[in-house]
Symmetry: C3
Subunit: 407 residues, 3 copies
C-alpha cells in the first residue's frame, strides 16, 4: 500500500446539538467515542498516519481518548468550517490525503473499497457519493461516467442531479493543489471547502466519484445519537460481559449485551439485547432495559423501563419509563416520572430549536432530549420531543409541553 495521510475533522462544535453540550466526535457509544470507531476503521486497513484537527476545548480529550501514537493533533482556533480546519493542519506535500469527518460512520468495507479505488484512480481527486433513494438535505453530485461535473447544494427533491449525496470521504492525490484552491476561495459563509472543490471541477481537474451504497450515519441533531446507536447495534456489536460484573442468577439476559467492569444486575432485572451497561452501573429489581446504552455509574432503580434510549454517565432512575430518549449526563428522575414518546395522534414529532424553529425529526417515536445536571421530581410527564437544558430542576407533577432553557 502506498503511504497516505488521513485527516479527521473533529472540530464540529455541534450547534444543532444544543443545549446538549457534547463534542460530537467524542460522544461515546458502548464506551467508545464515535471518532475512535472512525479512526480504527482506517487503521485496520493499513493507514498509519493520522492527523486530527479540533477546537481548542477538545484537543486534550481527543489525545486522551485516541492516544498519541501515529497521530498528530492540530488546533482549529476559529469555528469557521471545514476549510478553516484543513488550513490549520500541517499537511505533508507529497503524500496523498484522505479527509473524513470524525462523527460520520460508514461500513468498514466502504473504507476498504474507497482506499482501493483511490490507489487505482487516475483522477486528482476522489469524492464519495452516498446512494440514497429518499431525499436528504445535502449536496448532490452531478455526474457523467464516474466523473464529477458539479455539486449542487440542497437541491429541491425533484431536481436532484443524481441520487448520490456528497459524503466527506475525500481523497486528494496532491494535497497542496487542494490547499492552493482553499486559500484562493473568498466567502463569508462556511462553504469555502465546497467552493474550492467546485473551482477545481470548473478548472477541469479530474474529479472522480466513488459510489457507496452501504450504511451511513452522522451526528447533527440530538436524535441522531439514537440512530447512530441503532446502527452500531446492528453493525458493530459483539457480546462482552466483564468478569467482575455481578449478575444475579435471578436476572434475565437475552440477546447480545455488553456489560462493563463492576456493573451489577439485580434479581428480576431483564436485559433484552442489544444493551450496553457501563462501568459500575446498577440495574435494580424488576427493571427492563432494551436496545439502549447506559453510561457509567448509573442507577436504574426498581421498576424502570428504558427502551431505545441513550443514557450518559451518572444518571439515576426509579420507577420510570424512558423511551427513545437521550440523557446527557447526571440526570435523575423521581418515581413515576415518564417520557411520553408518541403523540396521541401518532404523527411525526417536531423538535423546537432555541430560535423556536421546529425541526422535523422523521420519527413518530421520540422521547426527551435532556442535557447535563438535570433533576426531575416525582410523577412528572415529559411530552415527546422536548429539550431540557442543563442545570434545570423540574418540579414534581409537572407536565412539560415545551423546552426548558439551560440555567
Amino acid at each position: 500500500m502506498k503511504p497516505v495521510q488521513l485527516l479527521i475533522l473533529a472540530g464540529g462544535i455541534g450547534k444543532r446539538m444544543r443545549p446538549l453540550s457534547f463534542c460530537k466526535s467524542l460522544i461515546p457509544f458502548a464506551g467508545k467515542p464515535i471518532i475512535k470507531y472512525v479512526l480504527e476503521d482506517w487503521q485496520k486497513i493499513g493507514i498509519t498516519d493520522f492527523k486530527i484537527v479540533s477546537n481548542p476545548e477538545n484537543i486534550k480529550k481527543l489525545k486522551a481518548v485516541l492516544g498519541e501514537k501515529n497521530k498528530k493533533f492540530f488546533v482549529q482556533k476559529k469555528p469557521l468550517g471545514m476549510a478553516e480546519a484543513v488550513l490549520n493542519v500541517k499537511l505533508e506535500k507529497n503524500k496523498p490525503l484522505i479527509i473524513v469527518n470524525g462523527e460520520d460512520l460508514i461500513a468498514e468495507e466502504g473504507c476498504q473499497d474507497f482506499l482501493k479505488m483511490a490507489e487505482k484512480t487516475k483522477g486528482e481527486v476522489l469524492l464519495t457519493g452516498l446512494y440514497r433513494e429518499e431525499y436528504f438535505p445535502g449536496g448532490y453530485f452531478k455526474i457523467k461516467d464516474r466523473q464529477v461535473l458539479g455539486i449542487i447544494e440542497k437541491p429541491e427533491k425533484d431536481r436532484r442531479p443524481s441520487k448520490f449525496i456528497n459524503l466527506v470521504v475525500h481523497y486528494f492525490r496532491r494535497p497542496f493543489l487542494f490547499l492552493k484552491y482553499l486559500k484562493e476561495v473568498k466567502t463569508n459563509k462556511d462553504d469555502a471547502y465546497e467552493m474550492a472543490l467546485d473551482r477545481m471541477i470548473k478548472d477541469k481537474i479530474k474529479v472522480e466519484l466513488f459510489t457507496y451504497q452501504g450504511y451511513w450515519q452522522s451526528l447533527k441533531y440530538p436524535w441522531h445519537i439514537l440512530e447512530m446507536m441503532a446502527l452500531i447495534f446492528k453493525h458493530r456489536w459483539q457480546r462482552k460481559v466483564a468478569k467482575n460484573a455481578k449478575i444475579s442468577s435471578h436476572a434475565i439476559i437475552k440477546g447480545q449485551v455488553i456489560i462493563e467492569d463492576e456493573a451489577e444486575v439485580y434479581d428480576g432485572a431483564c436485559l433484552v439485547g442489544p444493551v450496553y451497561l457501563g462501568k459500575k452501573s446498577i440495574v435494580g429489581h424488576h427493571t427492563l432495559i432494551r436496545e439502549s446504552m447506559i453510561g457509567d455509574n448509573c442507577v436504574i432503580g426498581f421498576g424502570t423501563e428504558i427502551a431505545r434510549s441513550w443514557v450518559g454517565h451518572r444518571c439515576w432512575f426509579h420507577t420510570n419509563y424512558i423511551g427513545d430518549s437521550v440523557l446527557e449526563e447526571n440526570v435523575s428522575f423521581g418515581a413515576g416520572t415518564v417520557t411520553a414518546n408518541l403523540r396521541l395522534d401518532g404523527r411525526e414529532i417536531f423538535v423546537k430549536r432555541d430560535n423556536q424553529q421546529k425541526v422535523a425529526t422523521g420519527k413518530n417515536k421520540l422521547g426527551s432530549l435532556i442535557a447535563k445536571d438535570v433533576k426531575i421530581g416525582v410523577n412528572v410527564s415529559l411530552m415527546p420531543g422536548i429539550i431540557i437544558g442543563s442545570h434545570n430542576l423540574v418540579y414534581p407533577h409537572a407536565v412539560l409541553y415545551d423546552n426548558l432553557k439551560e440555567r
Copy 2:
C-alpha cells in the same frame, strides 16, 4: 326427542350499553360470542332447528359467527321489542317453539331440565321462573301449584308475589296460538310480548312454570360484561394453551388459562388464572394479569397489571393499572395511567348515563368503561365508574371525574 324449533332473540341494540357500541349477543368471552354459548347449550341436548332474529346491522356478523347449518336468520327491521322480533320470524306451525335471549346465560343442566319438562307438560305454555332471594327489577310470577296466574312487572321489593323472576326461556306448544295473541295486542310501549302472555293467562290457557335455581347472567349495562366474565370463569372454563403460543420459561402461569394462537408471554410476566389471552397478543415483562380476558392483537406492556377486567382487541398498555374495567377495542394508555376502581370512602359506585341519570351498580369496585378507539396519554387518573365514549383523546396528566361523550 320430539322436534322443536328454537328461536334466539339477538336483536337487542343495547341502549344501556352506550356509548360502548357492542351488539350484546356478539360480545365475545374467551373468543366466543355469548350467543354461541347459548346456541351450543341447546345444540348439545339435541335441538337442531334454530331461528335467529336480529337487527339489519348484525345479521351478517351473526351468520359468520354461528355458521348457517341448521339455522335460519331473520331481520327485525324496527327495534320495537320482543313481540316485533318474533313477528318477523317465519315460524313453523306444528312444531313446538322455544324462545330464548341471545345474551342470557344459564346452566347447561337448566336447558336440559327445561326441555324435559316441556316434553312432559300438559300446558300450552311453559315459562321459566328464576328463583332469587334478593330483589331484582324484573317481572315476577304470581303462581299457584306450578300454574302461572299472572306476571307482575317490577313490583316493589316487599310486594313480590313470589321469588320467581320471568326469564326468557319460554316454550309454546302451538306457536301460532301465541302469534295470534301477539298480533292482537295493542300497545305503544315495547311490552307487547308480556301483554300477550298476560292475555293468554287471563283466557285460561294453561301456562305452567319451570322453576330454576341455578346461575344466570344477562348483559344490560357495561359492567354486566364483568359479571358474565366471572360467571364464565366459574362455570365454563377449561385450560387450553395453543401449541404455537410462545411462552417464556421465565413467565409464571398459575391457575387455568386459555392462551390462543401466536400469543406471546415474555420473561417475568405473571398470569394468574382464570385468564384468557387472545390471538397474537403480547404480555410484556413484569406484568400481572389475573381474572381477566384480553382480546386479540393486544400489547400488555412492561409493568402493567390487569385485574378482573375485560379488554377487547388491539389494546395497548404500558405500566398501567387496569382494574374492574371494560375496554371495548383499540384503546391505548400512556405510561403511568391508572383506572381507580375504589372510592376513597369505599361506597357503592354509581355510573352516570347520557341523560345524567345515575345508575347503581351494586359494586364498590368498578374501574372505567371505555368505548372503541380511545387514546389516553401518560399519567392520567380515571375515577371509578366513568364512561369514555369512542374516539376520545385524553390528554396527559388529566384526572377524569366525569364521563366523556363519544366524538
Copy 3:
C-alpha cells in the same frame, strides 16, 4: 446478685410524635414493643422485680404486652414528667432502685456492665454518661475522677463540660433518699427529677458516673422510629420464617428476614433483608421490600417498592414507592402514588410541627409521616418530610407540599 428493683418509665405521651398517636414505649419493632426489648434486656441479666409506670390510657395495653408475672404496674395520673412518674410508684425502701426509660434502647452489654458497676460502687447514686463526639441537645455531665459534679442542661456546643450525655439508666442505693429529694423540689416545669439529682450532688452525696460508648436510640420524633428500626436491624436481628407462611418458589428472598404466621409472598416478590413481615400480610407480584418492617394484615400490592420504611398494621399499597417513611396503621395508597424522599436540591429535610416550627431531622432522605386511618388516592405525590394527620382522605393527583391536620 443482690436484689434490685427496676422501674421502667413508660408514661411518655409523645407530644413530639403527634399527630401520630403512638404510645412511644409500645411502638412495635418486628412485632415486639420497644419496652419489651428494654425489659427483656434486664431480665436476661437477672433482674426479677419490675415496676412499670405509665399513663392511665396505656396501663392495660402494657399489662397485655408484657405479662404481669414479676411486674407491678402503676398509674401516673398527670403527665408532669419523670419526677411525678417516680412519685406515683410504690417503691420498696431497702432495695436498690434502677430507673430506665421504656423507649431507650442500649446494648445488652451496656445493661450488664452498668449492673456490675452498681453492685461495686461505693456511691449513693450511679448515673450513665453516653459518650458522643457529636453534639446532642441533652444534659451534659460535669465530672472529675468518675464523680459527677453537676449536670448542665443543653449547653452550647462549644461549652459542653464533657462528651458524656445524661442517659436515664440511673441507680439509687437508697430509693427513699432520692424520694425525699424529689418531694422537696419546687418547680413548675417538668425538671423536678433533674433538680433533685442536682440537689443531691450539691449536698455532697456521692454520685458516680458509669460511662457508656455503645449504641443508643430513643423515640422522640416520628423519624426516630426509622432510626430505631435501623438499629434493631443492625444489633438485634435474627432470621425467622414461620412454618405456615406461604412463600412462592418464584419469590426471591435475600438477607435476614423475619416472616410471621400466615404471611404470604407471591411470585416475583423480592425481599432484601433485613425485612420484617407481620402476620397474614401479603406481598404481591413484582414487589420489592428492603430494610423495612411491615405490620400485620397488610397488602403490598403489585409493583410496589418499600425501602427503609416502618409500616404499621392493615396498610394497603398498589404500585407505589414508599421510601424512608413511617405509616402508623390502616393507611392505603392508590396506584401510582409515591412518597418523594429526597429534595431536588439534595438538602437536609425539615419537618413542620403543629405550631409551624420547623425541626431539623439531620436527614437528607425522608419520606412521609402518616397517622392512622388515612386513605390516599391514585397518582398522588407526597413531598419529603410531610406529616398527614389521621382520618384524612387525599384526593387523586394531589401534590402535597404541606402537612395535613388530623380530622
